[in-house]
Symmetry: D2
Subunit: 433 residues, 4 copies
Amino acid sequence: MVLSPDCSKALAGFSAHRNVRVANDGLLAMRINILREFSMTGRHFLHVPGPTNIPDRVLRAMHVPSEDHRNPTFPNLTLPLFKQLKRLVRTETGQAFIFPSSGTGAWEAVMTNTLSSGDKVLASRFGQFSHLWIDLAKRHGLDVIVQEEEWGTGASPEHIQAELEKDTAHQIKAVMVVQNETATGVTSDVAAVRKAIDAAKHPALLFVDGVSSIGSIDFRMDDWKVDAIITGSQKGLMLPAGLGIAVVSQKALEAQKAARANNPLRRVYFDFEDQSKANETGYFPYTPALPLLYGLREALQIILDEEGLDNVIARHHYLAQGVREAVKAWGLTLCAKDQKWYSDTVSAILVPEGFNGADVISRAFKRYNLALGAGLSQVAGKLFRIGHLGDLNELMCLGAITGAEMAMRDIGIDVKPGSGAAAAEEYYRTNGK
Amino acid sequence: MVLSPDCSKALAGFSAHRNVRVANDGLLAMRINILREFSMTGRHFLHVPGPTNIPDRVLRAMHVPSEDHRNPTFPNLTLPLFKQLKRLVRTETGQAFIFPSSGTGAWEAVMTNTLSSGDKVLASRFGQFSHLWIDLAKRHGLDVIVQEEEWGTGASPEHIQAELEKDTAHQIKAVMVVQNETATGVTSDVAAVRKAIDAAKHPALLFVDGVSSIGSIDFRMDDWKVDAIITGSQKGLMLPAGLGIAVVSQKALEAQKAARANNPLRRVYFDFEDQSKANETGYFPYTPALPLLYGLREALQIILDEEGLDNVIARHHYLAQGVREAVKAWGLTLCAKDQKWYSDTVSAILVPEGFNGADVISRAFKRYNLALGAGLSQVAGKLFRIGHLGDLNELMCLGAITGAEMAMRDIGIDVKPGSGAAAAEEYYRTNGK
Amino acid sequence: MVLSPDCSKALAGFSAHRNVRVANDGLLAMRINILREFSMTGRHFLHVPGPTNIPDRVLRAMHVPSEDHRNPTFPNLTLPLFKQLKRLVRTETGQAFIFPSSGTGAWEAVMTNTLSSGDKVLASRFGQFSHLWIDLAKRHGLDVIVQEEEWGTGASPEHIQAELEKDTAHQIKAVMVVQNETATGVTSDVAAVRKAIDAAKHPALLFVDGVSSIGSIDFRMDDWKVDAIITGSQKGLMLPAGLGIAVVSQKALEAQKAARANNPLRRVYFDFEDQSKANETGYFPYTPALPLLYGLREALQIILDEEGLDNVIARHHYLAQGVREAVKAWGLTLCAKDQKWYSDTVSAILVPEGFNGADVISRAFKRYNLALGAGLSQVAGKLFRIGHLGDLNELMCLGAITGAEMAMRDIGIDVKPGSGAAAAEEYYRTNGK
Amino acid sequence: MVLSPDCSKALAGFSAHRNVRVANDGLLAMRINILREFSMTGRHFLHVPGPTNIPDRVLRAMHVPSEDHRNPTFPNLTLPLFKQLKRLVRTETGQAFIFPSSGTGAWEAVMTNTLSSGDKVLASRFGQFSHLWIDLAKRHGLDVIVQEEEWGTGASPEHIQAELEKDTAHQIKAVMVVQNETATGVTSDVAAVRKAIDAAKHPALLFVDGVSSIGSIDFRMDDWKVDAIITGSQKGLMLPAGLGIAVVSQKALEAQKAARANNPLRRVYFDFEDQSKANETGYFPYTPALPLLYGLREALQIILDEEGLDNVIARHHYLAQGVREAVKAWGLTLCAKDQKWYSDTVSAILVPEGFNGADVISRAFKRYNLALGAGLSQVAGKLFRIGHLGDLNELMCLGAITGAEMAMRDIGIDVKPGSGAAAAEEYYRTNGK
């Protein structure tokens, strides 16, 4: 149809889109200012590697009136949560803790409860999040033996075994492994790390950061004899941030008792014993983040009882593979050095020389309502990241792929239009049911 | 990473995705059954030409506790709504009515209030919705002169003028035009129809069905001297269905008074006078659909005061054009016969001989969580429709395009993978801001 | 503690409460203006006899994204609804219809589908809502024999039987009874009306308005051989307004077929046949009010499958009785003339000579955030009404009682403070579990 | 009306209310079991002293899709929050911190950032929450001088002054005061404590626990030269738990720098410097509890910009006074020993000898859907508490009062029915606007 002059004007280059009227009141003015600068219509495409998209059902489940967290019906909600969390990490013997915190809080909880000041721990560093965990350990007074691995690779079972074998006095109390390094899109092989520890016949605890893997990438606490696995609510669990979750083994709980008696790291908020005592009957030592607990119940039902954990993990692999096919079709490469490191929750994509990944991200956000992840620290500017975890499907991933194509072309990166989409489409078509 | 045997099995062909556990309780069982048959993870891509996607803000605005619709603060909500609806259809002199009904109810309201039993009306038929409106008029005892136009075209100003010129006795009381025929993706030129009526010097009222155009395609009630425009809440207004909206001219209100005295069509629920009397002070003759009124306030603020009506219309044109570029790249054609009929809210895409549009739709829905519109009546099976109206952006349209590409290829239609996406991407990239 | 001078000033007579700052932006200004004039903190106490309080669960259930109402999973939602509605009115043989309308629309649907122009119907009038139904029938061209009963009483089986016995030609096609007259707080005995019709050996259809009784007061469609029962969503069903519900007998459906052939009343929107045809497979002839259908599913689950219908009805009686004890303790009387007319969903309370019920209502709303129902028509000013239906409990009723006590005292009605509360408390304490 | 036999049976003593059908599926079964044991219809009356009732607007504001907390529009949300929090505690010079934690976390943050291991602090103990804070300080290795005050009184400025005057070496680094002791319903006079410190010419920092006072009871950070005030989201701020808030003075920030250099208490999660650095530009060092930030914006707008902080404080006093009038009318006494200790956010009501406060609470919860607060530690069983803070009004308080009357009478406490309600009503009627 023929557009009226006013509408044609509005369409001219579509830049007039943002030329909205000036408002003099607070919130409206803010909305209009944002609308002027950013694309704000339609659904936001959230493709950072967390926080992830929250299913509508989970949002609804959290829209609850307040209640007394000491009321007699409360354990009906909470006691099953602890059980479900154990199913999520595949443990029968571990104990789950839920803190009103982020994943960082769960890290701090595990470190401060199970170790003593000056204890030696062994940790691999190969990205921003493994770095931050090491930093946290150091700042709490632990003596961290850092194994530097090339960014784009992960924890090396060989290096770990070698270091442990050197430690004949068994001074190393714990091995820290990030299962999925969100910064580089690298998944470490935790089962192999366990084998390395066993091969070294070393009694060290095995601590795993599963923030961006739990509920998305296979994890088997009991099979792999993991002593502490931590995660946050805002990744594979498809919730807002606000819950720090730790599941710890009986061996770790023994260590906790020992640590308590001997030059302990101080903590109250994150204290396991306070929690344990209250959790036993379904309560908490202080007010929990209530709506998130309702959301957690809904999310765990979806993952464990409706879609099924194996199916969820398979879906993550399938969706990730489609994204990787797109990257290949673009002629670009991943930060992950080898297929064995490829992460099923996030792909870190290197931009060609002469371009800045931050420009892709900025363009995608402002112009196409698409949130991509940035390169951090060592890899700042060198890459952009597509998160593909949580409540996702094929078309959402294709939205991210087509958006990235447009944003890359807009800043001059020479990828063929539609090439990534075509590759992903063909993968999805021929690999799904 | 290497998948475990269980997860690999789940991934095998991804068909195991649906092989979820059997549940023996009601709602959970239903969810799992649906999950088994349909893709249910991630966001649903809703691309029928209504109901349309509801912005989160609008959903929130409707999440309100109950209240007495006769309380003294109620007019603070309602009185501005009538004014905003007039801005939406660009009238200063018309009067807006809001019924708890669908758009069909608004049709019935306009017909039964303004016409008398046996009155002659002139209507063009060129699709399922123009057909249904004619059917409604006939069933109410009106004498409808039907002008058949080829499906894929719209109302013909020439034919209308000719018919009116024949009617020297001015027995034709109203001309009925569907501005946007949702079934074929055709937009009629209402301004030209007005000119045709004027050229024929005929006093007939001009009634327009704007169900799938208002708030998306340009409409100018006063400029075009339209006597009744009707719409529903679930299209350009980005709300759930449940509000039937009619804005009528003073001339139509005069006709209503005359009709009342003379062999009237019966109605109480849809009576304009009952509404008028109560609306004057901000109330309704019976309980209104309260949450939708709060939603309407939010939606109208977005359209009129934040994005701006001209911008909204321009955006619809821009997004539609991207979809049309994709269709061209696929080597397919639209049901609309000519560019001048192209609808900016829905594209009806003809499938090649030997294929059934319904198969594309079924595949898209079950496999890719994408809802496309079906061919109806004369064009059943011959096409599928992509709705592109309401709260949309580029990546949502690209989701529909890539999903349609996959679904078409899955049933054997030979379109080049990524071709539609590439064409739309390049259009969006180079025509936006 | 000692208040600061500023806070003391704010407290002075608490009138400064409303003296909030002037805002110059739209919505905020409106909120502040309302806050200045009305009490707005805390929960609103909604005690009109509909719309009623919506349970949080039901609000959540309606907070759903949009979807295509023609998609293949849709009947999973809708087909069980028709069955549940039949359970709600205790029929095995009737057929349920759900319209996007108010209860008035359901009235119109029943009248226009089953009767022909000029048909005789018999109706009792004893309040505003029985009056409005008669008015609707007349405006549709029916010949209504009106039996005037004293306001404060209900339908008289004796009078009905007498009138029917006079009608030896069986010209009366239907008897219309309002089960619960919301304006006067009177419940008619529908079972007795059935007996009267049977005693008169008259074949007339029996139509019942159950707007403010269904889901709250016992109703037995099959036992009482009712031919049409209508209700709306915003009363006992604890939903927002927007659904008009009619359940009709096979006899009424036969009448509908006959009426269609013979001088029919016109309707399309409310046509039973269009609905029937589409409903059969779980769809609707036009877009339904989707979120309300999700809400209806939740509400019916609560009523039928969790609390249980008998329990719900018993609870309404119990809560109503507490309110009536309070009225007695105040020394006031109900509009209902006799215990047998007492409604379990609303009490209409006569104010003493010299006072205006509207002043009680206005005071309660503005000062105590309590919505009471007004006297209408004949009883305007003579009473105020406490609605006690839907999602209620003892303390909500006590909120209404204490609020009414304060409002009455504020305008000078001499009730003893706490007297109504004491009487209701003692009733609840000693009659509950 | 006459009830049917089934409904009469259901009504019999109303005990059958709970005799609902057996369900064999998970969530439904749980709901029915709860329904069988507890009153579940209607609105829950939440009258513990936190978590408090969340306004519907605030719940809506938190119902938001996920987003990247590092996106460029994010500071539009966060930067104003820090400013508004400063207005809330009436400081121009302090700095606000927001942690994803409970109030306990904010306690820990203040202690661990500003003090060094072995530092001396002075604290008054007169209830469970002052006790817990002291416990937290001790467990972090601080040397706490505990001043025991009688439960029912608060911090003694005289005792504090005396202790500080003894400390001529100025070894005491901080004075810790709980402004409102939630366990006993006692408000301490923080201004007087400040005067005592000044009178002693002591440089100690002044730390205040405002968990159950901020946003409800007057607090003036700058006027009273408070060095750290902490609160949680789930009390006067009318939000769910999940945010720990601390506002600290420049003097405290200086102390923080000093402490860092000298035998520091370890923390990372709660580190002020990490926060400061990120907060400056509107971001956080780790993922914040996003929905709560949107809720906080809405709550602060209500408190500061709509109702107004002085009005909010005055309303709390007014509502509290009504509850106290009820207690007096019952012939009971408060745990608070004297009017000067009365808390405007919670009343702890002593039950007569021979009764157990826990029985009142249990009865109120199970039978009347009313949550009251329990006696803790020293006063366990001796009292029950009515919380009256947050989003409350007169009728909500009257709901708590009438519910408490019934529950007390049910367990045999001889209070006159309606007596408390009458007293509160008369207070509200004559002291409001």
